[in-house]
Protein backbone atom coordinates (compact mmCIF):
# COMPACT_ATOMS: atom_id res chain seq x y z
CA UNK A 1 0.00 0.00 0.00
CA UNK A 2 2.79 2.38 0.92
CA UNK A 3 4.48 1.58 -2.37
CA UNK A 4 1.33 2.43 -4.27
CA UNK A 5 1.01 5.70 -2.39
CA UNK A 6 4.63 6.52 -3.09
CA UNK A 7 4.10 5.72 -6.76
CA UNK A 8 1.01 7.92 -6.94
CA UNK A 9 2.86 10.77 -5.29
CA UNK A 10 5.69 10.31 -7.75
CA UNK A 11 3.31 10.28 -10.70
CA UNK A 12 1.52 13.43 -9.58
CA UNK A 13 4.77 15.23 -8.84
CA UNK A 14 6.01 14.32 -12.31
CA UNK A 15 2.81 15.64 -13.88
CA UNK A 16 3.05 18.91 -12.00
CA UNK A 17 6.65 19.12 -13.13
CA UNK A 18 5.67 18.60 -16.76
CA UNK A 19 2.87 21.15 -16.61
CA UNK A 20 5.10 23.74 -14.99
CA UNK A 21 7.88 23.39 -17.57
CA UNK A 22 6.06 25.11 -20.40
CA UNK A 23 6.01 28.85 -19.89
CA UNK A 24 5.36 31.06 -22.88
CA UNK A 25 8.16 33.41 -23.88
CA UNK A 26 7.10 36.32 -26.08
CA UNK A 27 10.69 37.06 -27.09
CA UNK A 28 11.23 33.48 -28.26
CA UNK A 29 8.09 33.78 -30.39
CA UNK A 30 9.71 36.30 -32.73
CA UNK A 31 11.16 33.50 -34.83
CA UNK A 32 7.91 31.53 -34.80
CA UNK A 33 5.29 34.02 -35.92
CA UNK A 34 6.12 34.14 -39.64
CA UNK A 35 3.25 31.74 -40.23
CA UNK A 36 0.84 33.95 -38.25
CA UNK A 37 1.52 37.44 -39.57
CA UNK A 38 0.56 36.71 -43.18
CA UNK A 39 -3.09 36.60 -42.05
CA UNK A 40 -3.39 37.80 -38.43
CA UNK A 41 -0.97 40.70 -38.87
CA UNK A 42 -2.79 42.32 -41.77
CA UNK A 43 -5.71 44.60 -40.87
CA UNK A 44 -8.87 43.45 -42.64
CA UNK A 45 -7.36 40.20 -43.98
CA UNK A 46 -10.11 37.79 -44.96
CA UNK A 47 -10.34 34.04 -45.09
CA UNK A 48 -12.40 32.89 -48.05
CA UNK A 49 -13.70 29.52 -46.93
CA UNK A 50 -15.99 28.07 -45.81
CA UNK A 51 -17.35 31.59 -45.41
CA UNK A 52 -15.73 34.90 -46.29
CA UNK A 53 -14.78 36.46 -42.98
CA UNK A 54 -12.03 38.52 -41.39
CA UNK A 55 -9.60 36.29 -39.52
CA UNK A 56 -9.85 36.93 -35.77
CA UNK A 57 -8.02 39.71 -34.00
CA UNK A 58 -5.60 37.96 -31.68
CA UNK A 59 -3.47 40.88 -30.48
CA UNK A 60 -4.41 41.34 -26.81
CA UNK A 61 -6.43 38.12 -26.69
CA UNK A 62 -5.82 35.98 -23.57
CA UNK A 63 -2.69 33.80 -23.78
CA UNK A 64 -4.41 30.76 -22.27
CA UNK A 65 -7.23 31.04 -24.78
CA UNK A 66 -4.83 31.31 -27.73
CA UNK A 67 -3.06 28.21 -26.40
CA UNK A 68 -6.36 26.38 -25.97
CA UNK A 69 -7.44 27.30 -29.51
CA UNK A 70 -4.14 26.17 -31.07
CA UNK A 71 -4.21 22.93 -29.07
CA UNK A 72 -7.78 22.34 -30.27
CA UNK A 73 -6.65 22.73 -33.91
CA UNK A 74 -3.68 20.46 -33.25
CA UNK A 75 -5.86 17.79 -31.66
CA UNK A 76 -8.54 18.09 -34.33
CA UNK A 77 -11.37 19.43 -32.17
CA UNK A 78 -11.27 22.49 -34.41
CA UNK A 79 -11.27 21.44 -38.03
CA UNK A 80 -10.35 24.50 -40.08
CA UNK A 81 -7.73 23.03 -42.46
CA UNK A 82 -5.27 25.94 -42.63
CA UNK A 83 -5.14 26.35 -38.88
CA UNK A 84 -4.94 22.59 -38.36
CA UNK A 85 -1.88 22.45 -40.59
CA UNK A 86 -0.18 25.30 -38.80
CA UNK A 87 -0.99 24.11 -35.27
CA UNK A 88 0.21 20.59 -36.10
CA UNK A 89 3.63 22.00 -36.94
CA UNK A 90 3.97 23.72 -33.54
CA UNK A 91 5.35 22.13 -30.37
CA UNK A 92 3.66 22.82 -27.03
CA UNK A 93 6.46 25.28 -26.29
CA UNK A 94 5.96 27.01 -29.67
CA UNK A 95 2.25 27.34 -28.91
CA UNK A 96 2.93 28.86 -25.47
CA UNK A 97 5.47 31.29 -26.95
CA UNK A 98 3.20 32.44 -29.78
CA UNK A 99 0.31 32.83 -27.32
CA UNK A 100 2.47 34.93 -24.97
CA UNK A 101 3.57 37.09 -27.91
CA UNK A 102 0.09 37.95 -29.13
CA UNK A 103 -1.33 38.34 -25.61
CA UNK A 104 1.09 41.15 -24.79
CA UNK A 105 0.07 43.24 -27.80
CA UNK A 106 -2.11 46.27 -27.13
CA UNK A 107 -3.92 48.80 -29.27
CA UNK A 108 -0.88 51.02 -28.80
CA UNK A 109 1.49 48.45 -30.21
CA UNK A 110 3.66 45.44 -29.62
CA UNK A 111 6.54 45.08 -27.16
CA UNK A 112 9.93 45.21 -28.82
Amino acid sequence: MKKITALLVLVSVTQVGTAAEIVGNAQAAKAKIEMCIGCHGIPGYKATFPEVYQVPMIGGQGAKYIEAALQAYKKGDRKHPSMRGIAASLSDQDIADVAAFYAQQTRAGSAK
Partner: protein, 116 residues
Protein backbone atom coordinates in the same frame (compact mmCIF):
# COMPACT_ATOMS: atom_id res chain seq x y z
CA UNK B 1 -45.78 59.78 -60.48
CA UNK B 2 -47.07 58.78 -57.09
CA UNK B 3 -46.66 55.20 -58.13
CA UNK B 4 -43.06 55.80 -59.05
CA UNK B 5 -42.42 57.47 -55.69
CA UNK B 6 -43.94 54.53 -53.88
CA UNK B 7 -41.75 52.12 -55.80
CA UNK B 8 -38.61 54.14 -55.04
CA UNK B 9 -39.50 54.33 -51.33
CA UNK B 10 -40.17 50.60 -51.28
CA UNK B 11 -36.84 49.85 -52.95
CA UNK B 12 -34.90 52.09 -50.55
CA UNK B 13 -36.63 50.60 -47.53
CA UNK B 14 -35.94 47.13 -48.85
CA UNK B 15 -32.27 47.94 -49.30
CA UNK B 16 -32.03 49.37 -45.77
CA UNK B 17 -33.71 46.37 -44.17
CA UNK B 18 -31.51 43.98 -46.16
CA UNK B 19 -28.41 45.82 -44.96
CA UNK B 20 -29.69 45.68 -41.40
CA UNK B 21 -30.31 41.96 -41.73
CA UNK B 22 -26.87 41.26 -43.19
CA UNK B 23 -25.20 43.21 -40.39
CA UNK B 24 -27.27 41.78 -37.56
CA UNK B 25 -29.41 43.53 -34.97
CA UNK B 26 -27.37 44.77 -31.99
CA UNK B 27 -30.34 45.20 -29.63
CA UNK B 28 -31.65 41.73 -30.35
CA UNK B 29 -28.11 40.37 -30.01
CA UNK B 30 -27.87 41.83 -26.52
CA UNK B 31 -31.20 40.28 -25.58
CA UNK B 32 -29.97 36.89 -26.82
CA UNK B 33 -26.61 37.20 -25.04
CA UNK B 34 -28.47 37.95 -21.80
CA UNK B 35 -30.98 35.16 -22.38
CA UNK B 36 -28.30 32.53 -22.95
CA UNK B 37 -26.01 33.84 -20.18
CA UNK B 38 -22.97 34.27 -22.41
CA UNK B 39 -21.50 36.69 -19.82
CA UNK B 40 -21.20 33.92 -17.25
CA UNK B 41 -18.07 32.65 -19.01
CA UNK B 42 -17.05 35.55 -21.26
CA UNK B 43 -17.42 38.31 -18.63
CA UNK B 44 -20.02 41.04 -18.14
CA UNK B 45 -18.08 43.39 -20.44
CA UNK B 46 -17.13 40.44 -22.72
CA UNK B 47 -13.56 41.48 -22.17
CA UNK B 48 -12.84 39.78 -18.83
CA UNK B 49 -13.50 36.03 -19.20
CA UNK B 50 -14.21 33.94 -16.10
CA UNK B 51 -11.36 31.58 -16.99
CA UNK B 52 -8.27 32.64 -18.93
CA UNK B 53 -8.84 29.80 -21.39
CA UNK B 54 -12.07 31.48 -22.57
CA UNK B 55 -11.80 34.17 -25.25
CA UNK B 56 -12.40 37.89 -24.98
CA UNK B 57 -15.18 38.72 -27.42
CA UNK B 58 -15.74 42.48 -27.12
CA UNK B 59 -14.98 44.25 -30.38
CA UNK B 60 -13.96 41.06 -32.20
CA UNK B 61 -14.68 41.07 -35.95
CA UNK B 62 -18.39 40.54 -36.56
CA UNK B 63 -17.93 38.12 -39.44
CA UNK B 64 -15.39 36.04 -37.51
CA UNK B 65 -17.78 35.71 -34.56
CA UNK B 66 -20.46 34.50 -36.98
CA UNK B 67 -18.05 32.00 -38.49
CA UNK B 68 -17.02 30.69 -35.06
CA UNK B 69 -20.61 30.21 -33.89
CA UNK B 70 -21.53 28.47 -37.16
CA UNK B 71 -18.44 26.26 -36.77
CA UNK B 72 -19.67 25.11 -33.36
CA UNK B 73 -22.98 24.26 -35.00
CA UNK B 74 -21.14 22.17 -37.60
CA UNK B 75 -19.59 20.19 -34.75
CA UNK B 76 -17.78 17.16 -36.15
CA UNK B 77 -18.49 18.15 -39.75
CA UNK B 78 -16.04 19.84 -42.12
CA UNK B 79 -14.81 23.20 -40.79
CA UNK B 80 -16.56 22.46 -37.50
CA UNK B 81 -15.51 22.86 -33.91
CA UNK B 82 -16.05 20.52 -31.00
CA UNK B 83 -16.23 22.06 -27.58
CA UNK B 84 -17.98 20.67 -24.52
CA UNK B 85 -19.58 23.99 -23.60
CA UNK B 86 -20.04 25.83 -26.91
CA UNK B 87 -21.59 22.86 -28.72
CA UNK B 88 -24.49 23.02 -26.30
CA UNK B 89 -24.67 26.80 -26.26
CA UNK B 90 -25.16 27.19 -30.03
CA UNK B 91 -27.85 24.48 -30.36
CA UNK B 92 -30.87 26.80 -29.92
CA UNK B 93 -29.45 29.57 -32.14
CA UNK B 94 -30.91 30.30 -35.57
CA UNK B 95 -28.76 31.84 -38.31
CA UNK B 96 -30.38 35.19 -37.56
CA UNK B 97 -29.64 34.78 -33.84
CA UNK B 98 -25.98 34.17 -34.72
CA UNK B 99 -25.84 37.33 -36.86
CA UNK B 100 -27.47 39.39 -34.10
CA UNK B 101 -25.15 38.02 -31.39
CA UNK B 102 -22.11 38.70 -33.54
CA UNK B 103 -23.30 42.27 -34.23
CA UNK B 104 -23.80 42.90 -30.50
CA UNK B 105 -20.43 41.49 -29.39
CA UNK B 106 -18.66 43.36 -32.19
CA UNK B 107 -20.32 46.63 -31.08
CA UNK B 108 -18.82 46.45 -27.56
CA UNK B 109 -15.66 48.41 -26.72
CA UNK B 110 -12.73 46.01 -26.85
CA UNK B 111 -8.99 46.02 -26.28
CA UNK B 112 -7.83 43.69 -29.05
CA UNK B 113 -5.70 44.84 -31.94
CA UNK B 114 -4.03 43.75 -35.17
CA UNK B 115 -0.26 44.10 -35.35
CA UNK B 116 2.50 42.28 -37.11
Amino acid sequence: MNHLKAVVVALVCGAISMTAQAAGNVANGKALADKYNCFTCHGKDYNTPLDPSYPKLAGQHRDYLEHALVAYKRGDGAYGRNNAIMTGQVKPLSNKDIKDLAAYLHSLPGTMAVHR
